[in-house]
């Protein structure tokens, strides 16, 4: 029944004491938000925590949401702010990370491990896996302002106008960033274009 309600209606019902409404909201947003956060912070452990933070903030502040904008805009504003805070801390920590805990679950293989060939012709699954990894890397290498726009559009399917509300820049700037991001991805992954065309 809750599936038919708008995001804003679900939040209103949660504010009135209906936990099922919030569960539906979590169901709708946890995956895209998680991917948005993960591609921003690049570590699963951090992404887990930040996703939890986003929803906990919504739980705690849901009554502050006035409905002037879309709920998705609010959610991504929270997520983006948390990611920015995290990035700032990471810049600071790079200078003191010698005794930091070891790399987490998404530390990633070394370049040597990635490029070490087996000598045999790579099969299709291996290429697909390699492509996925390369796409992830290419997205992580995008400039931050392009990456966030790309992720909001690509992962969440947000309209450019809503993305502009989250990021706080004009809509045309958002569209330019998106275009630059796509062009960069095309350049970074040009080796795989033929392969992707074959898969279509």
């Amino acid at each position: 029944m809750t599936k038919d309600h708008s995001d804003e209606e679900l939040l209103r019902r949660f504010n009135e004491g209906d936990p099922e409404a919030f569960e539906e909201l979590v169901r709708r947003y946890e995956r895209p938000l998680y991917n948005f956060i993960f591609r921003s912070v690049r570590r699963r452990e951090r992404a887990d925590e930040l996703l939890q933070d986003v929803f906990l903030k919504v739980v705690q502040r849901s009554q502050d949401f006035k409905g002037d904008s879309k709920l998705s805009t609010w959610l991504y504003t929270i997520a983006r702010n948390l990611c920015i805070d995290h990035s700032r801390k990471m810049v600071f920590r790079r200078h003191q990370s010698l005794d930091a805990p070891g790399p987490g679950p998404e530390g990633g293989p070394t370049l040597l491990e990635r490029t070490a060939g087996t000598g045999a012709e790579p099969d299709r699954a291996a290429v697909t896996e390699d492509l996925r990894r390369r796409i992830g890397e290419a997205i992580e290498e995008l400039p931050e302002e392009q990456r966030e726009v790309f992720l909001m559009r690509h992962v969440q399917g947000m309209r450019f106008k809503d993305i502009a509300d989250v990021v706080g820049v004009p809509e045309n700037t958002v569209k330019s960033r998106m275009r630059y991001a796509l062009e960069r991805l095309q350049r970074a992954l040009a080796d795989y274009e033929d392969y992707v065309d074959e898969l279509k």
Binding site: F22, L33, V59, L182
Partner: protein, 435 residues
Amino acid sequence: MDCETCTDHLVELLYEELDEEDAARARTHLAECEACAASFSRIRAGHALAARLEQLDPPVAVRSAVLAAARERAAERAPAPVSEPEPAATPAQPEPIEEDGAWAALLRWLGSFAMRPQLAMALSLLLIVGLGMWYLPALRDGDPADLHAIVDPAPGDEVGPSAALVPAEPLPRTEPAGARSRARDEADVPPRGATRPTPAALDEAVAVAPPDPDARERAAAESGRAARPSPGTSIEEADLDPRAQELAVAPGQTAELRPAPAEPQATQPAPTAPAMVAEDSERSPAATTDDSSTDRYGRGLANYRQRNYREAASDFESVIERPGPDPRLIPSALHHLARSQRGAGNCAAAVRSYERLLAQHPTYSGSGEALLEGAGCYQRLGRLGEARAWLERARAIPSVAAQANRMLVVLAQQERGAGAITVEGNGPASSTPAQ
């Protein structure tokens, strides 16, 4: 359409956000302009490549923790149940016309406060204080020695209850559950010769309980008697300690106490009304006056984020010890406790927490990550054998298998460096992780 306008519209055209008229113009321009067509081709190729991006699923543990917090918050926000059973419980009104009168409205308004936990707490406190006050004249009339005992501290004492009021032997009465019981445990005066309670504990006890242990016992005894439907039986008298029996009030005084409606709720959490009481029991004083487990959990996360690992560990420990009505936060809190300890550099404590997490919550969805992190701690402690065992376990979990393999490679190098590696004849390729 010129090139500049067309370029502005390219991504909208790609994502079909352009209205039909502008889209047609842009397509016409693209058919005529090679530069714009090449640009569009590039971003379309980038879009096609990006479509192969793997979408990750968030861990179930996050959802569980979030939903537990949401349920707790929703329960706080849910409107107080309308007292539906009230008309059925009370006899029918003889004059229905009064339903609409000012008196009925006033009753309804007063009734709306009836089951509010804050009001119940205030009434309980008032009752307890009232009982204490009520006993003072009884003591004066009954035994002057007891009056002096209250006023004069015991020899050698500066503050605190008189030794005359300390029971000579443990009282047989069972303690009521809840915060009052806890406060009482902390403030109870030990037998003679033992260390006296701290002033803080006494303050806390005074805030919620009668001022001295005996008076509390008497109050509990009296209120327990008043709460029972058939007072005066030998059983309830036998429950009272001898001092309380000596101080038993006159029948007239007892009769004054019995009609008090809030007394049974104040003395024991016995079930009275169906749904409302269930809800009230969830909102026990301990739950409402203390931070909720969600708040403590959120504070722990914030501290963890700020790298205040010791404070974070303390917060998560409190969530584990006092999880509130919904214990589903416990596995996540335990996991974060381990991470906090690891962050604080206390790997030994961290591995204990990881072990506890994996032992007590074998189905915890973040167990793969916990195994990896715990293995990392073992590595840092130089316990390479245990690190290897945990990584081997992690390899069986698909979501972390790849990372476990990578860590095994590093571990094998570490083992070689330490000269600790032993070739296992039939072992699972100790230095060559499975792909």
